[in-house]
């Protein structure tokens, strides 16, 4: 994690960051942004080489929050890892739960009851709303709109977290899903509450969209900044709103139609320019689609059990084999790769973190722009350090 030598470092290849030469013969400045910079959303460092205000080189430095989650997963039973997945991307624990449950279900071939599938979709889409509102709130905060917009976002987030608390008993560390279903059933009153929150959201989105769409400062700072080419985005494994903002139509909910996503009608918003502005408009539009999905799910949700009655909680030993399962998390493709050797603990427990892999192109997007824009470009990637470092 040393800074030395980033100015001399030049790499080649078509999918490598462009090499930018400094203008004139002035000295370059090496700046370490972070690990305690307010814009880095946690403990994360970017070593930046600057020519005046222009970024010449940028290197992300990880590992400040590393706890070797995968090793912990290998040393505990399958179910014991479920609460740990909440701590990966702590803004959206329910999608983490789902990705892990889905992978184990792929490994064992367990069935999930209908009602549980519907609950999973409702919760995942609520999580998406939570994540995207916070991401946009943070963007506006980083742009200098100190406090107010973020508090607007958090006001809505709080309503949804109240729903999570009512259902699962915890606002964030939910530990809700199980292999073959969900832990507890939702009451009709809870579903009515979801409906109530759902009805209040579009008005908030309108308000928020007005902030984004018509604010001149915001447009000046975000349009045409941090552009990501679609071919590079695909090659670098970028997923989620970032990929779609570059105009690539790839939504795992549509491609895999995992769970019961095949039954819902929704559109996949796509960007044109792949800049910061597009990334945030995509998030806004996605939230509106999420509302529509939850609306459809609330209409169709059947009555029934939420756990596969044959599912074993104790003595859970999948047959030897391996499985890779993935879902479209709010930040991108969240995958779990599991190898079972027939013992109660997974032989290999790997998490494919969207946050880490989306940072691959951070340097490409930042090179040549001003150092003040780095904060915004980084914010538009939308990461959580709990997932980057694991």
């Amino acid at each position: 994690m040393s800074t030395s030598g980033i100015i001399q470092d030049k790499r080649e290849g078509w999918n490598r960051p462009p090499v930018i030469e400094p203008e004139g013969d002035a000295d370059l400045l090496e700046v370490a942004m972070g690990p305690h910079h307010p814009s880095t959303h946690g403990v994360f460092r970017m070593d930046v080489a600057l020519d005046g205000e222009r970024v010449i080189r940028l290197k992300p430095v990880f590992g400040y929050l590393h706890r070797n989650h995968e090793k912990i997963g290998e040393n505990s039973s399958y179910l014991a890892s479920m609460p740990f997945t909440d701590r990966l991307d702590y803004i959206c624990p329910l999608t983490n739960n789902w990705a892990y449950a889905l992978s184990v279900e792929k490994l064992t071939g367990q069935e999930v009851p209908e009602r549980a599938e519907y609950l999973r979709v409702i919760l995942a889409e609520l999580t998406r709303v939570v994540n995207h509102t916070s991401a946009i709130g943070f963007l506006l905060q980083e742009m200098g709109a100190s406090g107010t917009p973020l508090m607007y976002a958090f006001r809505e987030r709080e309503k949804i977290l109240d729903l999570f608390e009512a259902l699962t008993g915890a606002r964030m560390m939910v530990n809700y899903m199980r292999f073959g279903g969900c832990r507890v059933d939702a009451t009709p009153a809870w579903l009515a509450d979801v409906r109530k929150v759902l009805d209040s959201l579009p008005q908030f989105f309108d308000e928020f969209e007005n902030l984004l769409r018509s604010n001149e400062i915001l447009m000046a700072r975000s349009q045409g900044v941090g552009i990501l080419r679609p071919d590079l985005a695909v090659n670098a494994g970028i997923t989620g709103p970032m990929l779609r903002a570059s105009g690539v139509n790839y939504d795992i909910r549509k491609v895999d139609s995992y769970g019961i996503y095949g039954r819902f009608k929704f559109r996949v918003p796509l960007g044109e320019h792949g800049d910061i502005y597009d990334r945030f408009m995509i998030r806004l539009l996605e939230m509106r689609e999420s509302i529509s999905i939850i609306d459809q799910a609330l209409k169709d949700i059947p009555v029934g059990p939420v756990m596969d009655p044959k599912a074993k909680l104790r003595g859970f030993r999948p047959k030897p084999g391996e499985a890779y399962g993935r879902i479209e998390g709010p930040k991108g493709e969240l995958g779990f790769y599991l190898i079972s050797d027939g013992s109660p603990n997974p032989y290999r427990y790997r998490i494919r973190p969207p946050s880490l892999i989306n940072l691959t192109v951070l340097e490409d997007m930042c090179l040549g722009s001003n150092v003040a824009d780095v904060v915004l470009i980084f914010g538009s990637v939308d990461i959580v350090l709990g997932e980057v470092d694991r």
Partner: protein
Amino acid sequence: MKTVEEIKAAIEQAVPGAGVEIILNPSVCTQHSLRLAPSHAVAVATFLRDDADLALDFLSNATGIDWPDKEVAEKVKVIRTVTKTVDGAEQQVEETVEETRKHVVPGCLEAVYHLFSVAKGYKSPVVIRMKTVNRSDQVQLPSLTPVWRSAEFQEREIFDLYGIVFTGHPDLRRILMWDEFKDHPMRRDYVEPDDFEYEPTAHDEVLARAQAHRAKMADLAAGQEGAGA
């Protein structure tokens, strides 16, 4: 989507002598994988990416697996000559005895890549894997980062946590552990150090000097006592 057998045939047609081997997955999800020979891996990977039928342009997940040396116990029937007392006289008798023999299956490190296609939208991954010769000194594998940039940080992570050295990687450094760290924590025989961040400090030097001083003083005192008596 093509089956693994079809993909194997396509690879062997495009890259002669590629040495692809199908590894079956007994799990219900039937995600079988292809093991590539490291010598041809980059050529095969480029083919998989650029082939119009396969179009595996998206590397989703890259990770390592550690397979440590395994001791396998086998029961073998052996004929031995045993000295026995038969009818009061010692005789050499041949006897069949069951014996457990142990032999060690050498371990390896493995890198696994999960490929998808943005262009074609496959539902299940095409899994490719490579393995190293052993776990100690021959741990080189070709890097697939020049083919899929997505592998950049993930291969760094494998290098960091498993110790596979990816040749051809543009920037192979530790990513999660700090640069001075020596071991590879995801290996199965990894033992945690007592103190992760032990560094000899100025304080240690002072302590060592104090200890030396104390020993010297004790010697001196002992010498004086001897002289006094």
